[in-house]
Symmetry: C2
Subunit: 219 residues, 2 copies
């Protein structure tokens, strides 16, 4: 099986990288900074996007490209939050690819935004292998997932620019060692930016939104 699969996968990855470079060129032409958000199901990707849109209203024009296996529930939420959003449904696919993102841009008002979140399919494994044309890669961990996940899914922690540690309002109820967790993540990725936040209480959100504003300004 493996001898047959390798060349096929190489062709897929080559085509994806080419399309990702094309996407990147389009984003740059429009002066839009693009953030690829990856996380396990239920880590709070959509909640983080919604709370970020709310906090930066009037300061930064944000849009979202929402990836899911099925449904439009996240796109509906983001639009209700006042931001332009398009949905990509992958059918059974476990990650977004650059071609899907390129197609979604046909319906997306790139001239009306400064920053775009691409919310990837909920999955800690597959999305990190596929460039979408993004400038910045962010993973989200959430406190209820437990503090051992970097041992099990090291690749995503090693290959993102920042990690949002979400749902810290639940720390009093769960055995999650925030210090040890951050140390473990930094052992995999010494340059990573870490943002412990709660979208419910707002704790830590100022540092996160300031960081995003700096990224968008640099564009």
């Amino acid at each position: 099986m493996s001898t047959r699969r390798v060349p096929v996968i190489e062709r897929i990855m080559g085509a994806n990288d080419t399309q990702a470079a094309d996407n990147r060129r389009i984003f740059d032409e429009h002066g839009v900074h693009v953030v690829n958000i990856m996380a396990a199901p239920g880590a709070g990707k959509t909640s983080l996007i919604l709370e970020t849109v709310r906090r930066l209203q009037g300061e930064l024009r944000i849009g979202a490209i929402e990836g899911d296996v099925a449904s439009t529930v996240d796109t509906d939420k983001v639009r209700a939050g006042g931001a332009p959003a398009v949905q990509i449904n992958t059918g059974g696919g476990c990650h977004l690819d650059a071609k899907q993102v390129a197609q979604s841009l046909n319906e997306f008002p790139l001239d009306e935004v400064d920053l775009v979140f691409i919310e990837n399919v909920g999955n800690l494994i597959c999305p990190v292998g596929f460039a979408l044309g993004e400038h910045t890669r962010v993973a989200i961990s959430s406190v209820p997932e437990g503090d051992d996940k970097p041992y099990k899914y090291p690749k995503i922690y090693a290959n993102v620019d920042a990690l949002v540690i979400n749902k810290i309002d639940l720390l009093p109820y769960l055995p999650f060692d925030l210090e040890a967790f951050q140390k473990l993540v930094r052992s995999l990725n010494p340059d990573i930016e870490l943002f412990p936040v709660s979208c419910v209480t707002g704790e830590g959100m100022d540092a996160w939104t300031s960081w995003l504003q700096n990224l968008a300004r640099a564009e």
Copy 2:
């Protein structure tokens, strides 16, 4: 890409199903009931296995085959809990396959157990497409993931025999509508068994362990 990929995937699935049937025959020869546990990262697969082992000690001999992208942390925990366990590391693979399980059986004492949990890689999408030779398929959802996940990942909810709804001790702190969630899951899978549980408080665990004991007795 799709015209090239389909035949390759068909060959992979055909080989996997053949190996899964072989695995099943081996499990049946040993009178062992095998449960494939699938869930998102951090839903509590290992905690559920550990608490089940603890509660059924002296009544049912349980073992575990632990699947992860990397590390042996779960196998170490299960062994420390007194049950035989072997680790499968998939490298970058996003699900277990039947061949990996077959190889792991070389080190597994099938004659010393009545029930084996196969803890799949933490992923709500890919594992459900690969039979491992199991008799029973169980998914775990956890309350912090939110009650909208069946909309986004319908295939797993539609293709399991039972769903454990874990971490119900966190219901007071989170906006999770347990009634609506169960109704949504049943709309995808009318025959599914539902077990709301907390591995921390023990609530709901008796129904879950009784169900497992009946499965193992029928073997």
